[in-house]
């Protein structure tokens, strides 16, 4: 996802003459060398200083630049949240905060590197659109979308490769993305890289006779809510899956929509519990330990649907 994002930024500078600056807080070894060489005026390494990074970004954006602030895990979000809120979002500046390593992407490095509450926190900030690509095509579409808009945004990238959800080439940014023929009683809702688990879950449920649609949410804010509500209203049960705490993330977003619109549907919210994870493991291992892998979810849901 990261290389896909960067490629689209390079294209925007080269072919669309966009005045874009990437600032990194000293991360991205092996990632930015070519970019820095080709576009020296478009790259700043501000060192390990995330609060300063976002403040600098605000200053650059005040001067008309489009800025991507880059780091990993929680560093470009929680560490400098007030700068994002006060300096970028309140001033409606064209700054995109990019993180690599959504969820347990850096699982073995320990809890300091687990980006597992950011969806909840970033969603709460006014005037900030959160984007959660689910594969490389989605990353390309979202990056182009962000470049075309001139407003604050948050881009949550996976660290590892994820399965491509579809072989069909996407032509433009669409949100939500619906996989399935519609009209099924069960609707799975997912966002970000864990969509690969959601796809497996959908296949398992379909094979077991429980016809299931999958709706992928690419952004909480930049969204066709009419399509979302239509799909919700057509379902008897909604199963949301996220690699984020269940408090305040995707499941909460969906629940708020359901409650606000008086939709009669049963909601199952799967994500991480309100606890830290001290276990070491890669992303797949930790997803299983936390019960958000497709096998665990399938076993639980089959007990519900029988």
């Amino acid at each position: 996802m990261r290389s896909n994002w960067l490629e689209n930024v390079e294209n925007a500078i080269t072919f669309e003459s966009k005045d874009i600056v990437i600032i990194t807080a000293d991360l991205g070894y092996g990632v930015f060398e070519k970019f820095e060489k080709n576009f020296p005026k478009n790259f700043i390494n501000c060192g390990v200083s995330e609060q300063n990074m976002v403040g600098i970004a605000a200053g650059l954006a005040l001067r008309g630049k489009k800025v991507f602030c880059y780091s990993i895990g929680n560093f470009p979000t929680l560490r400098c949240l007030e700068q994002i809120r006060n300096d970028v979002c309140y001033h409606n500046l064209d700054v995109c905060v990019v993180t690599v390593g959504a969820g347990f992407g850096y699982g073995q490095l320990g809890m300091s590197h687990h980006a597992t509450e950011d969806l909840s926190i970033m969603r709460c900030i006014p005037n900030l659109s959160c984007y959660m690509p689910y594969d490389t095509q989605s990353t390309a579409m979202i990056t182009k979308r962000i470049i075309s808009l001139q407003k604050p945004s948050y881009l949550r990238l996976e660290r590892s490769c994820v399965d491509e959800v579809s072989s069909t080439e996407l032509q433009s940014f669409e949100n939500p993305v619906l996989l399935g023929k519609g009209g099924c009683k069960t609707l799975i809702l997912s966002c970000g890289g864990i969509t690969e688990e959601a796809v497996r879950l959908q296949h398992k449920l379909n094979a077991a006779g429980t016809k299931t649609n999958l709706m992928i949410i690419q952004s909480f804010e930049d969204c066709n809510f009419k399509d979302v509500l239509t799909a919700f209203a057509q379902s008897e049960r909604i199963v949301s899956i996220e690699e984020n705490v269940v408090v305040g993330g995707l499941g909460a977003w969906a629940s708020e929509l359901i409650t606000r619109n008086g939709i009669n549907v049963r909601m199952f919210t799967y994500g991480l519990n309100d606890t830290f994870t001290s276990l070491v493991g890669d992303q797949r291992y930790l997803r299983k330990e936390c019960g958000i892998d497709s096998e665990t979810l399938f076993a639980e849901l089959m007990m519900e649907v029988r």
Binding site: K41, I44, C46, G47, S49, Q51, N52, V54, G55, I56, A57, A58, G59, L60, A61, L62, R63, K65, E82, Q83, N86, D87, Y90, H91
Partner: protein, 267 residues
């Protein structure tokens, strides 16, 4: 005395009178902080390249008030310079207005950036300075901070950045009144030797009497080849005898009697 110095004297006086009235009318905090920084802000605006009739003039210099709680000073200076009618100062702190206690850019022409949480302004200033320098432009950037604010780590990140990128178009000024929210700065989180510390970060540091316009203007006009820090030794509450040197006036607003006494002293 130069014309600029004469103008600054008048401007500072007018601003102090506005500020005590605004803090009384709004029952707002921070009058002491405003009075200590008045001369500094007045001097900076007197050297800035600005066009009050065109707040977004592309060739303008930039001013960022990082010690946002002295917003009343900036509003008053802007009003006196003609960015908006002085009558609007009555909106300060009032229900339904956008003239908040901490400086706000919303509907207040001339205010570049809203601040309020300490430790933000210098980074933003550095970002503007980096951009204009990279683009080969002549705009200068001025940022005023409080001394208590220097406890914020983000300021030191910005100091490192500005020096590393040799932002010689950036001037920061610290309102060094030696008081902060509860006690003095040296009792709370000692800053001294502040000049040497900032100098060690690669800035050129000048120390002046923050109420001596000639000294401030000379420092502002001193050409250097790196980012410049002017440490301005000030007195909190300067200009109103019963407010000087007191933490109380970080919080209290003058009542009617205190306002009258203050205005008598500020003739």
């Amino acid at each position: 005395m130069t014309k600029t110095e004469a103008n600054v004297i008048e401007l500072s006086k007018s601003v102090r009178r506005h500020v005590v009235k605004m803090c009384h009318d709004g029952k707002s905090s921070h009058v002491g902080s405003c009075l200590s920084v008045t001369d500094i802000v007045a001097c900076v605006y007197s050297v800035m390249n600005i066009e009050p009739s065109n707040p977004y003039w592309s060739e303008r210099d930039f001013f960022i008030l990082s010690k946002g709680h002295a917003g009343a000073v900036v509003y008053s200076v802007l009003a006196e310079l003609g960015y908006f009618p002085s009558e609007r100062l009555k909106e300060h702190y009032q229900n339904g207005s956008t003239m908040s206690g901490h400086v706000s850019h919303v509907n207040n022409p001339g205010v570049e950036f809203s601040t309020g949480s300490l430790g933000h302004g210098l980074s933003v200033s550095a970002g503007i300075a980096h951009s204009t320098k990279t683009d080969g432009l002549e705009n200068k950037v001025y940022c005023v901070l409080s001394d208590g604010e220097m406890g914020e780590g983000s300021n030191w990140e910005a100091l490192l950045f500005a020096a590393h990128h040799n932002l010689d178009n950036l001037t920061a000024l610290v309102d060094r009144n030696n008081l902060q929210s509860i006690k003095g700065t040296e009792e709370t989180l000692a800053l001294e030797p502040l000049a040497r510390k900032i100098g060690a970060f690669g800035w050129k540091v000048l120390t002046v009497d923050g109420h001596n316009h000639e000294e401030i203007l000379t420092a502002l006009n001193t050409k250097v080849l790196c980012p410049k820090m002017i440490l301005c030794k000030t007195t909190k509450g300067k200009g109103v005898s019963f407010m000087e040197g007191s933490v109380k006036w970080h919080y209290a607003s003058p009542d009617a009697k205190e306002l009258a006494t203050a205005l008598d002293e500020l003739i």
